[in-house]
Symmetry: C2
Subunit: 350 residues, 2 copies
Amino acid sequence: MKHGQPPLSNPTINDIARVAEVSLATVDRVLNARPGVREATVKKVNRAIAELGYVRDAAAANLARGRTYNFVFILPSNKNEFLSSLEAQIEHLGQSIRHERTQLTYVRVAAFDPVALAEAIDAIDTATVDGVAIFGPETPSVRDSIALLRSQGVTVVSLVADIPSSERDHYVGVDNIAAGRTAAQLMGKFIGQREGKILVLTGSMLARDHLERRLGFDAVMTRDFPHLDVLASLEGRDDPDLIARLLPDTLADNPNIIGIYSSAAGNEGLLRFFASRTGMPRPVVVAHELTQLSREALSNDVFDAVISQDTGHLVRSAVRIMRAKRDRLPIQTAQERIRIDVYLKENMPP
Amino acid sequence: MKHGQPPLSNPTINDIARVAEVSLATVDRVLNARPGVREATVKKVNRAIAELGYVRDAAAANLARGRTYNFVFILPSNKNEFLSSLEAQIEHLGQSIRHERTQLTYVRVAAFDPVALAEAIDAIDTATVDGVAIFGPETPSVRDSIALLRSQGVTVVSLVADIPSSERDHYVGVDNIAAGRTAAQLMGKFIGQREGKILVLTGSMLARDHLERRLGFDAVMTRDFPHLDVLASLEGRDDPDLIARLLPDTLADNPNIIGIYSSAAGNEGLLRFFASRTGMPRPVVVAHELTQLSREALSNDVFDAVISQDTGHLVRSAVRIMRAKRDRLPIQTAQERIRIDVYLKENMPP
DNA sequence: GTGAAAGCGCTAACAA
DNA sequence: TTGTTAGCGCTTTCAC
C-alpha cells in the first residue's frame, strides 16, 4: 500500500443515475427497496451500482432524512456500582450524541423480577422508540414481550446477560461462560498446590449471566484443579446486607475455604464481611467488575484479580448496533465483541 | 431520566443567524474563527450560540466541505505477527472508511533505525497528508523531523511506543511501564514460593516501549518478589534466528531459569527454541501480543499469560484522533485509552 | 412508473 | 465587514 494514492472520490447517486439513464428519484427508490419501479429498471440501476462500486453516504442520507434515533435502556433497579457505572455511561454518551440526532434514556425495573421486566417491555411506546437494550432475566414472559416488541419494528438487544431464546437482534456483553472459566483458571493458578474449598458467591440463578459464569467456573475447576473442592453457590441476590449476614455461617460451616469467587454484584457485602472479620487468613479472591470498591480491594491486596467488562464499551456498542439495525447497515462484529478484561493491581487503568 | 422525553431538535445556524440578526455567512465565519468580522458582531453571534446551546452538526459540515482525510502510518519493516496484524487492521479499516472520505496508507521503514525513520518522516508530502501515525524509536533526529511535520500543519500521533520528547499531538498505545509491572505480577504470582532466575527477552533498548516494559517489570519484581533473580535483558532485536541462536548459551550459563518474560516481538524465536529443546522443565512464560503463535502457545500451556493490546483498537483510535485534530474537535479520552489486555488460555477471544 | 425540484445543516465562492 | 447564493449527497413531496 503506497503512500500518495490517487485522491479519493466515490461515486454518488448522480453517477448511478447517469449510467443507468434514470432519475435520482428512481435510484433512490431502488436503493431503499421502495415499491413502484419496473423490474427492468431495477436491474438497470443495480447493474450501474455494481459497476461503479457505489456505497451510500450514510451521513448525507441521515441529514436528508432528518432521522432521529430514540433508544431506551431497561436496567435492574437495585443499587450497585456496576449499574451506576452503566447508568453514568448512558447519560454521558447520551449527552455527547444528542447532536447526532440520537436520544438515550433508561428505565429501571425490579431486579430478578421477570413480571416487572415484561411489563416494562410492554410499556415501551413503539411509535416513538427505535431500539431497546434489555438487561434482565430470561423467562417465557420476557421472551414473549420481546417478540411483540420486535414485531412492531423495534430493534432489541440484550445487554450483559443474553436472552438467546428470544428473537433479540443482538447480544451485547461478554461470553459469561468464558468469564467463569477465566476466573477458575486464575483461582487455580494463584492457589497453586494447596488443597481446600472454594466458595462461589452468586446473585441469582435466574440471571443467565450468573448461571453461565458458574458453569464455566465448574468446568475448568473440575478439569484442571481437581484438588480444590468447589462448594454449592451462595445466592446473595446482590444484596450487601443479605450477603454480610449469610457469610459468617457459611465460613463457620466450612473452615477450610481458601478461595472465593465473587461472580456477581456481591463485592460490597463480601468486603463488608472481610472488614468485620480481621485476622482471618485471607483466601484468594477473584471478583467481577472493576469499580471503586474492587479497585481499592485490588490495591490493598484483598482481591487478587477482577474480571470485568467495560461499561463504556457496552453502551457505545449497544448504541452502534441499534443504529446499524435501524439503518439496515452491517455490524462490525470485531469491534462489537466485548472483551473479558482481567485486572490485577498493576494493570488497573488510572 | 424518563423514557419518552421531548423529541430532539437541535438549533441550527439558521436559528443563530435569526437570533443574532446576522447572515448565515457571518455565523459561519464566527464558528470557524475566520477573519473579517467586527468584534461586536462576533460577540452578538457568540451570545446567540451560548443562549441556544448550539453545537455544530459535524456530518453536515463535512458534507458541505467535501473534506477528505489522508492519513499515513509509518511502521517498522521487520516481519512479525504483531506488525502483520497492525497492517491488516489498517487495510481493513481503510476499506470500510473509504466511504467516509478517509484514506489510509502505510509505509515501512527499517526497524530500530532512527535515520531511516527520520527520512521517511521528511518524505511525507505535507501538501496532501493530514496526519501521520508513527511507530518507531525516539531519537533527536526523529524528534526534529516530527517538529518540522507539525509546523506544516500535519497532525502527528505516536503509535505503540511513545515519543514524548517530540511535539506529537497524541500517543496511541498502552502504558508500557504498567504493562511491564503487570507482567511481573503475573510472573511472581504464578511462580509462587519457588526460587530461581528470570530471563527477560527484549528487542532493542532503542525502543522506548521495550525499555519501559523492562523498567516496570524490574520495579515490581524488586518490590514484591525479591526471592527471584532477574537477569540482564537479552536483546534479540525481534529476530527469530538471532534469538534461537542466543538462547541455548544463556540457558546453559544459567541453569536455574524458572521464568521467562518475552517482552517484545521475540515469541517466534522463543517458541522455536522450546520446540528444539524437549524434555526441559518448562519455565513460567509471560509474553506480549496475542497472535496466532502466542494463542497456540497458550492453548498448549507453553505460555502462561499474554499481555496484549488490541491492534484494531490502536488503528481505530489513531484514526479517530487524527480526524478529531483535523476537525479541531475534542478527543474522548476515555474511549481512546488503550487497555493492557491480559489473556490466559480461557479468555482468549475466539 | 418515473422525474423535477426543494431542502436537510453547513460551507464557500462571489457580490456588495 | 457583511450578505447572497449555489452546492455537498441524499431523500421526499408532488407532478406527470
